[in-house]
């Protein structure tokens, strides 16, 4: 740029500046959030805020910024920029004094902005993301000659209004509408994860139904829940194994099924939230509401020998806090675990105040993952009813509730890993209490609830041991005495127990004269204090007692869930110094971060209250987060592109008004219906645009941030496999149940200290949707990982889409895609066996719902002919063709399979159109 030009620009700037002054009469008010905070964050906060407060000055919190610094004076004096140390330091000529220290000085514009801000009174402001969502000035619905179709006048929906405004500001314009069938394929893939069904396709292409009606059909299909569950399960870190070293299997699938059902039922997002975070605390929770709480039992569980259960219980609690804030608040709490958030106004102790809500659940990283919800059969449920009816007649309503809870999830109980002060006893593999002959241990501070019965879960390989439980110590009163003999695995056994009040220490002692030492007489898993059933002398008691024992011994499906501690088991929460769980600081009570919405005193101070707080309409982040993530699912990019973070360090929203409009509408008009939100988006003209992009448009907006074209991006891992199975007719529509294990190469599972193996599923289970594929955290289904699926160890807001040669190898060579190619080819040949080109054209159109062009047909026909010649030439290669054993193959079928293999690898097939 030559000097003349610079001078010209400068004078232009001056003229504009003066005009600005003339027009507005005075300088415009500086906005803290958008103008000042970014300067402070970029230049100051790394030394003055959060971790460091050099010179006693911090710009993290308002009161810190205006407080006296080490010099004795505040650094910012509202109204007096030149008297403010902040400005003096930014403009000083001495390099020892000038800030930022040893770094490039601020620009004059930045300093001027800061000066103006101070002059105007240095008003501190909240970041936009922490202000509640306001009622938007809703865009007028107006009718005009549609700009996306030439003939039909159409109403402009509000999304298009907001998008259109920004397009105009950026010198861009909407693209034309996508071709109808490609658009239908886009919507079907987005809503159900699958191509449209034959019926829908017929109805739509014959114009019997409108696009909107097609969208409604898609939204009401059960495949909708299966598609959107993938999104939610990434956030919920759902997997079928425990994670960490041994990574053994766990039963979590009922939670996955809960998510699919809830999405299909369009459960309002606030209820969906409350059930998952605190379903157990709702009055008389249903089985479904209890199952929902497994959301926070997706945390990993460490079985590695030598690990401390308490350490990993705490790790799970902290993960729950971080995950909750990431999932519902787009806020990263991991930093605040160790120190005040350097950028966001959330304080170190506030992390632990939030953690206090989550620190009182019964789960303790035990090997059995208790508490677990027991899914009883209808017959068993009837039996339970009869037991409860008996208790109601013979005892109190409270007793009914307690007994019902115990049968539902076996709580409260004391895990044996709480035992201490061992003599000839140990924690076996740091998991279970083992007592040797002539050994003892203590279970301290136990509330036996004045129970006349102790239930113990234990196992023994020895006969002839005598166990005594005493109050307080070896000389204490005997509370229970009984023999222990060999058991068939671990059993639950009822022992008469002397009723005792209050918190006591139990002294557990085992004697066995015949056994050499160093061998455990028994392994204990847990202890529970549950009174015997009343009404022993009444007729029918024996039956009830039998029912009780049978039910207790339940062997069916059990799902880890959240259950709150009773008062007498409550834990205190302390701040962890520098994030270390061993270094306890001050005690904290459950509180929510001050910068967010206020707490309503009517809410209970537990997880349930916390869930109410999150879903309160005043909470600024929950609805924005939801809208942002749903938008991202459809457009491949969030309105705030950093999905995991909406704080002050996040990217600014591309369309703030749109974000707030959708957030407001979702809460207030849609009553938190996700389906309604999706419907509004996918019926907008913005969504319906063609995804074609010119080089010029691409240069202006490579990321499609302004939406001058439709979304076009590669399908996700599950969709790619589901789609291939669907178009080849192999896909099973079976829903729900335990994870399935489709074919994968041998030798993928090689976990240490874990004898489990991948046993291939048979029949239709080999071709279920990806959402049902068994997910082992340390060895996920390999082709999914290649296509960027998550291993689900921690919460994931966004899968990064990559494009690699290993992906090509999967869709070219993975047996499941070869099988799909084979069956797709069968269908193609059927069209007209005498005319392969017809079959090829049919296959292409079937896959992408668009007629094939001459060039493409020619390329694929050539491939067919080359393959045909080769197979006719070498009939040997047909015997084991594509390893499809039970099928005889002729050269035509083989050649067409090769073409189908190519079709399944087309970019346009792997990509949302």
């Amino acid at each position: 740029m030559n000097n003349l030009k610079v001078a010209g620009l400068l004078s232009l700037a001056i003229i504009l500046g003066i005009t600005g002054l003339l027009i507005f009469g005075q300088e415009k008010e500086v906005d803290f959030s958008t103008q000042i905070k970014p300067i402070l964050n970029k230049n100051c906060i790394s030394c003055h805020g959060g971790v460091k407060k050099n010179g006693g000055f911090s710009v993290l919190f308002e009161e810190e910024a205006f407080a006296k610094t080490e010099s004795g004076h505040p650094a910012i004096i509202p109204g007096d920029p030149n008297g403010s140390e902040l400005i003096k330091r930014l403009t000083a000529s001495d390099p020892e004094v000038r800030m930022p220290y040893e770094r490039t000085p601020l620009s004059e514009d930045e300093i001027d902005l800061l000066k103006t801000w101070i002059k105007q009174g240095a008003k501190w402001g909240k970041h936009w993301a922490y202000d509640p969502v306001q009622t938007p000035e809703i865009a007028e619905q107006r009718t005009t000659a549609g700009f996306t179709s030439d003939n039909n006048p159409s109403a402009i929906n509000s999304i298009d209004f907001y998008i259109g405004k920004k397009l105009e500001e950026n010198g861009l314009a909407f693209s034309k509408e996508e071709k109808p069938l490609r658009l239908l394929r886009r919507a079907a893939l987005d809503i159900t994860g699958l191509p449209p069904s034959k019926e829908l396709l017929t109805q739509y292409s014959s114009q019997r139904i409108s696009y909107e009606q097609a969208v409604d059909q898609l939204l009401s299909s059960p495949t909708y829940g299966e598609k959107w569950a993938t999104w939610w399960l990434d956030l919920a870190r759902y997997a079928d194994t425990k994670g960490y070293e041994r990574d053994v299997s766990r039963t979590m699938w009922p939670y996955r099924d809960y998510v699919i059902r809830a999405l299909n039922a369009d459960k309002p997002f606030d209820d969906f939230t409350i059930e998952q975070l605190a379903g157990d605390l709702l009055p008389n929770p249903t089985e479904e509401q209890l199952a929902a709480t497994a959301f926070h039992r997706n945390t990993m569980n460490n079985d590695e020998g030598g690990t401390n259960d308490e350490e990993f219980r705490v790790a799970a609690v902290l993960d729950r806090v971080s995950t909750t804030f990431e999932v519902w608040q787009s806020t990263t709490m991991a930093c605040v675990q160790c120190h005040s958030h350097p950028y966001d106004p959330i304080r170190h102790e506030e992390f632990y105040q939030s953690a206090a809500f989550f620190n009182n659940s019964r789960d303790e990283d035990t090997h059995d993952e208790e508490p677990r919800l027991r899914f009883y059969s209808p017959e068993e449920k009837k039996e339970i009813e009869s037991v409860l009816a008996w208790v109601k007649t013979n005892e109190s309503a409270k007793a009914v509730a307690e007994r019902k809870n115990f049968l539902t999830y076996l709580e409260p109980k004391y895990p044996s890993h709480n035992a201490v002060d061992f003599t000839n006893a140990e924690l076996i593999d740091t998991k279970w209490l083992g007592i040797q002959a002539n050994g003892s241990a203590y279970l301290r501070k136990v509330d036996t609830r004045s129970s006349d019965q102790l239930l113990i879960n234990y196992g023994s390989g020895l006969n002839g041991s005598e166990m005594t439980i005493r109050n307080g110590g070896p000389e204490g009163e005997i509370l229970a005495a009984f023999s222990i003999n060999k058991t068939d695995g671990d059993i639950i056994r009822a022992i008469p127990f002397k009723p005792t009040n209050g918190l006591i220490d139990l002294y557990l002692e085992v004697k066995n004269p015949t056994v050499r030492s160093e061998q455990n007489a028994a392994k204990f898993v847990w202890f529970a204090f549950v009174p015997t059933l009343a009404g022993k002398d009444k007729p029918g008691f024996r039956n009830i007692q039998n029912s009780w024992e049978t039910i207790l011994d339940f062997k069916g499906t059990k799902l880890p869930i959240m259950i709150e501690n009773p008062d007498y088991m409550a834990r205190e929460m302390h701040v962890f110094e520098r994030g270390n769980w061993m270094m306890l600081g001050d005690k904290v009570n459950p509180e929510t971060p001050k910068v967010l919405n206020d707490w309503n005193p009517e809410w209970p101070k537990n997880r349930l209250g916390f869930a109410y707080w999150l879903t309160d309409k005043e909470n600024p982040l929950t609805s924005r987060t939801l809208v942002n993530r749903v938008w991202d699912q459809l457009f491949g990019r969030g309105i705030v592109s950093s999905l995991e973070d909406m704080g002050t360090q996040s990217d600014p929203p591309s369309h703030p008004a749109l974000l707030d409009y959708l957030a407001w509408k979702t809460m207030n008009e849609y009553d938190w219906s996700i389906k309604s939100l999706i419907r509004e988006i996918v019926t907008s003209d913005t969504y319906k645009q063609s995804s074609a992009v010119s080089a010029e448009l691409f240069k202006k907006d490579p990321q499609n941030k302004w939406y001058a074209r439709g979304p076009r991006f590669r399908l996700n891992a599950e969709q790619i496999r589901d789609q291939a199975l669907a178009v080849s007719g192999l896909l099973s529509d079976k829903m729900y149940g335990p994870g399935v294990k489709p074919h994968q190469p041998e030798g993928i599972w090689q976990t240490v200290y874990n004898g489990q193996s991948w046993k291939e599923s048979e029949g239709e289970d080999a071709h279920r949707r990806g959402i049902y594929t068994f997910l082992k955290r340390t060895s996920p289904y390999p082709s999914f990982i290649t296509f960027d699926a998550a291993s689900r160890e921690v919460c994931l807001s966004r899968r990064i889409v990559t494009n690699t040669p290993l992906q090509a190898l999967v869709t070219l060579n993975d047996p499941v895609y070869l099988e799909a190619a084979y069956y797709l080819a069968e269908d193609m040949i059927k069209q007209d066996a005498s005319k392969p080109t017809k079959g090829i054209a049919y296959g292409y159109q079937k896959l992408v719902l668009n007629p094939i062009s001459d060039t493409k047909l020619e390329a694929l026909s050539n491939l067919y002919n080359e393959a045909l010649i080769e197979y006719k030439d070498k009939p040997d290669s047909l015997r084991t063709f594509f390893s499809i054993q039970d099928k005889s193959t002729n050269p035509e079928q083989a050649a067409m399979s090769v073409v189908a293999n190519a079709l399944l690898n087309m970019d346009e097939f792997l990509t949302k159109p």
Partner: protein, 497 residues
């Protein structure tokens, strides 16, 4: 209303422009289309330059120059999973021998936590014989007779420490800089930062031996929050070396070439119509996949190596052994692979059985490792590769000078528990000063007393040798920049050449 009119006008204008633009692109891509199987060239004022694409947009593994001068081009990292005993290999402690079978002094136990040791264990003297070697006079035990001869080639770190004493978290810390899951591995950082030289092979290759993957699972070569293209690719000795690498039954190489040609012709036309540069990237990936199918089996096949090489390494084609993996590591870096990570499982010598005993099992295990690892260094050197290749050796922690007494009981074999306070690692090759012994432990080898280095220091040093400043090498995630070394890590200057 005014806005809309304007939009309409602009849309019409844009449509016009698009048509001309598309015409231009079509011409361009048609030119590219002629070069079916050759690597795509985007120089001709074609799609990519018109679209302002970088090489990285088309190929995320394309090589990038290191930001600072690099001392090494590639890394071979030998991780002995389970944690070998430094007290039988490199850290000679004659004093410890004197305390053999004596109860452990309380001072060592206070405030310490161990995975399995309970109460007061007995001390366990060194079970190997030590001697000094080379001009550097480094102590190396008779468990590693071949390696003794290479004393002057490597730089020992005798006082490495970690704060993790369980395998899973410790391996994660060693490989990802964090004991919790979710961070990118060292190899991912390096391939993210530098890409790789050979586009027909993965940039970050993982080879495992010992029959098991490491305790922490595949996360130790995971890409964490980095794009998954930077995760390690496990190359296997059995079955396809890379998953789904083999063509299906009945598909000849020639036919596969035709398949990829057909796919790419279709994709090129799709690009002409839709203009999405991702399509160009996909075309590129399919051609790379085809070349990878040829080159990976070639490089993974060791049968063609001369007998002398098999002798040197002790390799047996077809075996899943550390020896084979060491030879493969050399072949891979020779071919321009950026990061080769070896895991050998079976070093967790607790003394619970014969294989896990310090005096017998460990000796055998060392025998399996000594020859191939020594051979690797020699072979790299004789090929002139060592100066550009950084070789790192170590476990995830060390082992106690005390004898393990699991659950307070005496064991039938001699074993050592996990110990993170002090253990030995070594580095050699690119940028490392050979023949240095850095760091010193106390008389029991329990704690470092001089020149201690942390896991983060090791990462900082490795990144430095690869041409990065570990404090500036960051990735933006969750609203803040992340580093491999988090807020720690100092260069170990004394071992740098």
């Amino acid at each position: 209303m005014q806005n809309l009119d304007k939009m309409l006008a602009e849309f019409a204008q844009q449509k016009l422009e698009k048509q001309t633009r598309r015409h231009f692109l079509m011409d361009c891509v048609a030119k590219v289309g002629g070069l079916a199987m050759a690597p795509l060239m985007f120089g001709c004022g074609t799609g990519s330059s018109e679209l302002n694409l970088s090489q990285r947009d088309l190929n995320p593994l394309s090589p990038l120059p290191p930001p600072y001068g690099a001392k090494a081009k590639s890394i071979i990292y030998l991780h002995m999973a389970g944690a070998p005993s430094q007290l039988e290999l490199f850290d000679f402690k004659p004093e410890l021998a004197k305390y053999h079978n004596q109860p452990c002094p309380q001072s060592l136990l206070e405030g310490k936590k161990f995975a399995f040791i309970r109460g007061v264990p007995k001390m366990l003297g060194p079970q190997a014989n030590f001697s000094q070697h080379g001009e550097s006079g480094a102590w190396i035990s008779d468990y590693m007779p071949h390696f003794q001869k290479l004393a002057d080639e490597v730089s020992f770190l005798k006082a490495v420490h970690t704060d993790q004493f369980n395998h899973g978290p410790a391996q994660l810390l060693m490989q990802t800089g964090s004991a919790r899951l979710g961070r990118p591995s060292l190899g991912s950082w390096v391939t993210y930062g530098l890409g790789t030289e050979n586009q027909n092979l993965p940039g970050f290759v993982v080879l495992t031996s010992g029959g098991k993957t490491p305790d922490a699972g595949k996360s130790v070569w995971g890409s964490g929050f980095l794009p998954s293209v930077y995760q390690g690719v496990q190359c296997r000795s059995k079955g396809d070396p890379v998953l789904y690498l083999d063509d299906p039954e009945g598909m000849s190489r020639n036919l596969k070439k035709n398949v990829i040609d057909a796919i790419n012709t279709v994709n090129k036309e799709e690009f002409n119509a839709y203009g999405d540069p991702e399509i160009l990237a996909r075309i590129n990936q399919y051609e790379m996949a085809y070349r990878m199918q040829i080159e990976v089996p070639e490089v993974m096949n060791i049968t063609d190596e001369p007998e002398s090489i098999h002798q040197l390494y002790g390799t047996k084609p077809g075996a899943e052994s550390l020896a084979n993996n060491c030879l493969l590591a050399r072949k891979l870096v020779e071919k321009g692979v950026r990061f080769v990570q070896l895991y050998d499982w079976g070093w967790d010598t607790h003394g619970t059985d014969h294989d896990g005993s310090i005096d017998m099992g460990l000796r055998n295990k060392c025998r399996e490792m000594d020859r191939p690892v020594s051979a690797l260094l020699l072979d790299l050197k004789q090929r002139g590769l060592l100066e550009d290749t950084l070789v790192v050796w170590g476990g995830e922690f060390g082992r106690t000078p005390m004898q393990e007494n699991r659950e307070g009981k005496t064991q039938s074999f001699l074993g050592r528990d996990h110990h993170g306070d002090a253990f030995t690692m070594w580095m050699a090759g690119g940028g490392i000063k050979p023949g240095v012994t850095y760091g010193r432990t106390d008389d029991f080898g329990f704690s470092g007393i001089e020149d201690k280095v942390s896991v983060h220091d090791i990462h900082a040093t490795i990144l430095h040798l690869m041409g990065f400043d570990h404090e500036q090498f960051t990735y933006e995630f969750q609203g803040r920049p992340f580093r491999l070394t988090d807020v720690e890590g100092e260069l170990i200057n004394k071992i740098l050449a």
